[in-house]
């Protein structure tokens, strides 16, 4: 059987492959900063493509669909930046200025808790739990104080990226099919059908998942912001956004997201009644999320077993921290799709081989 057009041996092929791969790796490694806008544009193109596909049906030409999307999104972004951004920035400034205050009050709070508990349960003194908690908290808070302003500056003020990403994104969207098919040409005939099917399935699930997550985060954030605003919490926008983003992490996320809001609220009002309102409000948001949003979002993307989700979360968390937690579910989903397709392929061949005709 002729395997390909060129007559290379297996050894030659493998060597060529390894050499190409190492060159590619070196290239990406040395110029990693240049690749960042392209990578971002690639991910964005991935998310926006289905919207453009649908718009293309209305506008007939793809370029008009993309231009319409750009104008629409530009106006939206402009309104958002003009009205919401100053609020967020002022909140952020306030928060960074007040963080030491929060830190010291929490510290005194922990110390008073420690003394009262150690009187009742002397065994705690031996275990020294509070000291370890305190030292851990100190590290975390210092990290947050250092990291928060830097994070916002580094992500929002690199003008070159802000200009480059939309341009690259435009061409990614415009030449979507061309880019894909030129990539498909490289795949050998033998694996063509299966690999394209694999790519399609992964793309569909991952795209649905990412779009769903974006939608979910947006809705949960808005609800949380409104609840915090009506209760009368400071920094309602930032705390609401934190709750919304943390909500991405299954099971533990909503709890983690509520902790900053609880601390800030308690330190402002110094009463537990107000916390009850917050817990009820966040509970209703979780109810909406779990009963309405999640079934819609996850029915078309990743349907994974809860135990498997827990396992991937723990694995992701131990490997990559917070980022690991966030990317654990999509990566687990991709692995699940790959395994299910390959196992189906194998089972097709096995079952039909046992029963001839």
């Amino acid at each position: 059987m002729h395997s390909s057009k060129t007559n290379m041996s297996f050894f030659q092929k493998t060597t060529l492959f390894v050499v190409c791969l190492s060159i590619l790796y070196y290239f990406i490694y040395t110029f990693s900063s240049i690749f960042l806008p392209f990578f971002t544009a690639f991910i964005l193109a991935y998310l926006i493509n289905p919207i453009i596909d649908r718009l293309e049906f209305v506008f007939k030409k793809r370029i008009f669909a993309i231009l319409f999307f750009y104008i629409f999104f530009g106006v939206l972004l402009f309104i958002l930046l003009k009205n919401v951004m100053p609020l967020i920035i002022s909140e952020l400034n306030d928060l960074t200025a007040n963080l030491p205050y929060y830190f010291t009050t929490i510290k005194t709070w922990v110390i008073s808790l420690k003394t009262s508990y150690e009187l009742e349960l002397p065994i705690l003194k031996q275990l020294d739990i509070f000291k370890t908690i305190q030292s851990k908290m100190e590290i975390i808070f210092l990290e947050i104080v250092n990291y928060l302003p830097q994070f916002f500056i580094s992500t929002f003020s690199t003008i070159s990226y802000l200009l480059l990403i939309p341009i690259v994104l435009f061409f990614f969207l415009l030449n979507d099919l061309k880019i894909k098919s030129s990539f498909y040409k490289v795949i050998p005939n033998k694996y063509f059908e299966v690999s394209i099917h694999l790519l399609y399935s992964i793309g569909k699930k991952l795209g649905n998942y990412l779009r769903g997550i974006l939608f979910e985060t947006l809705i949960i954030s808005t609800f949380s912001i409104f609840i915090l605003f009506f209760i009368g919490a400071d920094y309602s926008i930032i705390l609401g956004l934190v709750a919304g983003v943390m909500n991405i992490i299954p099971y533990v996320g909503p709890l983690l997201g509520a902790i900053p809001a609880i601390i800030v609220l308690y330190l402002k009002f110094k009463s537990l009644n107000i916390l009850l309102y917050l817990v009820i409000g966040f509970g209703i948001v979780q109810l909406i999320d779990n009963m309405i949003l999640k079934p819609i979002i996850y029915s078309q993307s990743v349907d994974m077993d809860p135990v498997f989700v827990m396992f991937t979360l723990l694995l992701g968390g131990s490997v990559g921290g917070i980022w690991g937690l966030i990317v654990a579910i999509p990566i687990g989903g991709i692995l699940k799709v790959i395994i299910s397709i390959i196992s189906k392929e194998i089972s097709f061949r096995l079952t039909n081989k046992e029963l001839p005709t």
Binding site: H2, K185, I196
Partner: protein, 159 residues
């Protein structure tokens, strides 16, 4: 040997020939040129050398094939004996059931000589249903016509 880099730098002849093949295939017959161009963006052109297997029996099928040039032999193994069902040439289609259903392939397809085929994936058809319902329903209509024809042929054979 033709110079692959310079002979047809804009690939115009390739595009034209893909449109021609599509317009001659039973599934895209009578479509307007704009619609044919839309379909031509979805199909992938694949080249097979002499005696290369295109797909094996019992592999999972994901796409339909349209022969652009060359001859394809469709065979099936019945009681450990290879039986050639048919030989197809330019413009004919095979593997069309996979366009609607995710089932294993019924038969093996092998290229006899050097063959060029266009592949049309089920996922692309599903996307096209969202994108352009008119065009995709026309294709589905054509597809059901072909499947109906095959069914009738089989019924006659049974009688």
């Amino acid at each position: 040997m033709p110079n692959i880099f310079w002979d047809d730098i804009f690939k115009l002849s390739k595009k034209a020939s893909i449109l021609e093949v599509l317009s001659n295939s039973p599934i895209c017959k009578d479509l307007s040129r704009t619609n044919l161009i839309k379909i031509s963006k979805l199909v992938h052109l694949r080249q097979y050398s002499k005696n290369e297997i295109i797909f094996n029996e019992n592999e999972s099928g994901q796409c339909m094939y349209i022969i652009k040039s060359g001859i394809v032999e469709i065979s099936k193994i019945i009681t450990s004996k290879k039986i050639v069902l048919t030989k197809l040439d330019d413009g004919s289609i095979f593997g069309e059931i996979s366009l609607v259903e995710d089932t294993p392939r019924d038969a093996t397809a092998k290229s006899i000589g050097k063959t060029e085929v266009l592949t049309f994936f089920r996922s692309d058809l599903l996307k096209l249903i969202d994108k352009d319902p008119r065009l995709s329903s026309f294709i589905l209509f054509r597809l059901s016509m072909i499947l109906g024809k095959r069914l009738r042929y089989k019924n006659i054979k049974i009688k």
